[in-house]
């Protein structure tokens, strides 16, 4: 986020990486409470979705930063909406695939 800064830039990325841990442990906690029964491939799907989502937002704002205002908003609206719907779908599937406890 601070490409010209020799100190702030690496720091930023390190901190960003660190909070991902928080993101996923939090998600894990939440998943446990809802008894979703998460496993490796479910986490991969969620992780992939999370990555796509962040990349879409970053990409849309990169366009805005590049003075392509129209394009930025359209990408956000179009791809972003598709991802929101996709996220809802994934959530629904995860709930459906809940393992039944005896």
């Amino acid at each position: 986020m601070f490409p010209q800064s020799t100190l702030l830039d690496p720091l930023f990325w390190m901190v960003l990486g660190a909070i991902q841990v928080l993101v996923f442990t939090g998600a894990n906690q939440w998943a446990k409470e809802s008894q979703l029964g998460m496993n490796w491939w479910k986490w991969s799907v969620v992780g992939f979705w999370w990555l796509s989502f962040i990349l879409t937002i970053a990409g849309a704002f990169t366009l805005l930063g590049e003075n392509e205002g129209n394009a930025g908003w359209y990408v956000l609206g179009f791809v972003g909406t598709l991802l929101v719907i996709g996220g809802a779908a994934i959530l629904k599937v995860l709930v459906l695939l809940k393992p039944n406890h005896p």
């Binding site: 020799t6 690496p10 990486g17 841990v21 990409g59 990169t62 366009l63 805005l64 930063g65 590049e66 003075n67 392509e68 205002g69 129209n70 394009a71 930025g72 908003w73 359209y74 990408v75 179009f78």
Partner: protein
Amino acid sequence: MKDDAQIGDEATNSSRRNFLKLGGIAAATATVGAGAGAGFVLGRDPDANIGWGRTEAGKDMYFNREAFEVDFPPTMEVVGQIERPEWGDYLFNRAFSLVKSIKGGWVPSEDWTQIPDLRVREYYAKYPKRWEEMLLSFSEKVKHDNNIEKHRDRFALAWAYSGAYSKGLHADFPPEPTEHPDVADFKWVQREPKEFKSPKHASKLIKQMAFKFGMSMVGITKLDSNFVFKNMMRGMPEWGDEIPKHWKNIIVFGVPMNWDPMYAAVGYSTSYDAYYRAKMASGLMAAYLGELGYAARPQFPGNSYEVIMPPLAMLAGLGESTRNGILMTPEVGPNIRLAAVITNLDLEHDKPIDLNMKHFCESCKICADACPSGSISKADKPDDVVRGVRKYAFNQDGCWRFWNQGPTPSGLGCRVCIAVCPYTRKNNWIHALVKQAEPRDPTGVTRNALLAMQHNFFYYPDAESFHPEWSGGNFASYHQPPEWMRSEEYLKVEKTWEYDGNWEGF
């Protein structure tokens, strides 16, 4: 029961703890590795070289061409015997000859058979429809000259930027040849030529020097005689169609024009910033070769050529040909201004590349739609054959006519097609991703998705809007000018205009 529950709890607790422990260790290891790797890379990052950054390190040319090398450039579709271009094929030769005739008292009319210079007449015998554009360019230039000063307030800073480089460009380095090439090209040779270990070694060094001299891209190829003008040799009053024997290889290089001004074509853009750098580099390269004992003849913008640059650049693997007929590179799209040095040094040649740009141009047509003079063909596939090569029809004279209308101070240059081309993109991560992915996708899905987004999500002003006010437009540009070119930010002017073009979107 209580015991069972306790044991159960402990079991789950311990497995969770184990998981966290192992996970933690893995994460920590990864982080250390990442730290080491990132640190090392940052140590070598040419972006840290203040004043001599990534360009000089050759890092602008990041695209790995090896994967795409082919034997013959796909966009140079040879359909007959390739003919060498004539003096009259070169628009500026014709234009300046006509200006000379007009100054000498000749009055041009719609009848091209009355043109005094036979060579110019021959061209318009072949393309009679283009004469009306050339004719129009003179009256439009007069209109331009009568109107342009009124808009100085708006364009003052942009004109200053362009004018600076223009002065540099028209300086006397490298000097124009004044003698026979057998003498002129050896002017800087003072000692015996130093032998290289092999042509491969020579090419490797020469390319590095191109980067050191400030160029972003470089390619080397054999000087193909098909692309040498006939009857044209600087420094010689007359010339036939011989090609000097020491003209063996050509080193082609170039830089992009500065991005933000370029995006604000027409009024705020200039070719001179890139022209100046390319010209200087050609002089430096020629001098460098001369010092090593080799003949060197620089070819540089605005008008100092004996060869046509784009096809030679294609043969040198720099990029491909496009709808509007100029060179398009994977790194910077068509935003590249070329110069070259012809030499007798033995060099290893680069191979042409195939990036499937052909298919992109077929469906894109954004430059054709935006061209303010309608000079670019809108046909799906190349629809013209020029001197033995199939390409898209391009009306040189129409393009030139609009240059004379455009709100640059001298009425030279337009560059809208370059600004709107989807390949003309800065090197940030989204574009870098796309530029690497699209040529490698054999299915065409990436290309179609990109084109769909390009056509639907991006705003392009109408072709007419790019015209100046006195010719039916509103000085529109693809991007609005950068802050440092807006005179209202720095000069005591009254802002009487509105900008029409993409901006931040907030």
